[in-house]
Amino acid sequence: MSDKSGVKRTVYHLGLLILISFFLSGNIAAQHHADDPVISTEDQQKMEEADFQAGEMIVEHISDSYDWHIINFGDTHISIPLPVILYDEGQWHVFMSSNFHHGHDVYKGYFISHKDMNAGKIVKLDGDGQEIRPTLDISITKNVVAIFLSSLLLIVIFVSVARSYDKRRDHAPKGLQSFLEPIIIFVRDDIAKASIGEKRYEKYLPFLLTIFFFILINNILGIIPIFPGGANVTGNIGVTGVLAAFTFIITTFSGNKNYWTHIINAPGVPWWLKIPVPLMPIVELMGVFTKPFVLMVRLFANITAGHIIILGFISLIFIFGEMSAGLGYGVSVISVGFSIFMDFLELLVAFIQAYVFTLLSALYFGMATEEAHH
């Protein structure tokens, strides 16, 4: 990984490249930056503070944070402070994130990092002046709140739907029930039944339905730009990692004899691929781990990429706006148009990714429980 300033510069250059290709007038600003590659860090820091930094803005928007930022009026930040829970050096620290004053202040020796891997996370300085993370940081961050909200929403929606099923037994569905029923039936018939098989699918159905709707609702809430949406939950690698880990654990624990036989001693493979160098078993065993890993990365990358593109389009308005207000207004028409198009695309992606994640999980369960057939 390159350091952050490098990444920022790349993003900046990329933005400028698009700029040049659209309008030749953007050349001058690019010249200034490109012709002077050896800029001292302090100079750059100053420049960053003055200019609108698209890369920083985008990363900030798609990252987790300790408060839920809603809107800025000039220099007034309106945000919901969230509790910070730290365990460090044998004691607990619980305080509200408002103590950091939007990442500018140091509180009890802790502050929000702006550098490298820990950017956006709470750190403190050790003896050598290095930023280190506290032992345990289980703060209720923006994403955690979003997860709780969407979980609550899921529970409210589906328990009420379940109640309406109880109330209207053997009748045609109605309202929300009739909207969700085709999706539930789709997950049951086309994902679970088709991938796992008629006999064993019922055991896995609750999990598949839960992750499908969990991913879907968080994808959709992620597209909505203001509270309670806007948190990039399914575009966070921790969240997708937990989802993939659940799939991995369930797959591993439901693996039958046939499944493990195929991994350790795959039938139909020449013996010299297994002895003396167990090439195939190694490849197969790697496959066991790459499958959930790919699940994690796919969802994370798809959702994050969509958000980056939208934020990129929006950033163009401000990049041009800094050159001249008129240019900014002019570009805003195009940018908003593209953003709307991307929003629709993201809505489609929200469904597709929920479907793909659930389908692949179901396929892995199906593989783990498949009976030998020769």
């Binding site: 891997m117 053997d170 609750p206 839960t210």
Partner: protein, 164 residues
Amino acid sequence: MSLINPGFGLIIWMTIALLIVLFILKKYAWKPIMNALKEREDSIEESLRAADRAKEEMKELKLDNEKLLREAKDERDAILREARKIKDKLIEEAKEKAGIEAGNIVENAKVRIQNEKKAALVEIKNTIATYSIEIAEKVLREELKDKKRQEEYIRTLLKETSLN
């Protein structure tokens, strides 16, 4: 990059939240929904099957009706045929009887006519015989009035006799 450096706290909370959601939804949502769906599907299936059965029964009933109707028609036809046969037979018999009767009558009439005829013939014969004798008597009487003729006649008679 900070983007691929997940927060440990987030992972913990996410796991807890997902477990709770999974548990609650499994117990209070998916189970009743799945049961209700299955029940409804079963009932729809059952209803469809019942409708099919009813249709089948209807068809059978119709077939039965048709069969009954056909049978009734057949029976009617048979009865009619039988009746016609009987009628024909009766006519035939009557004709036969009439024929025999007529034959008898004719026969009787013939016999009677024969008898009458015979009687008439006998009477005619008798009458003729009587007339013949009377005529012969008269002829003879006329013939044998003179002597000469008597003698002559006797001689011829004798001649004839002697010749024999």
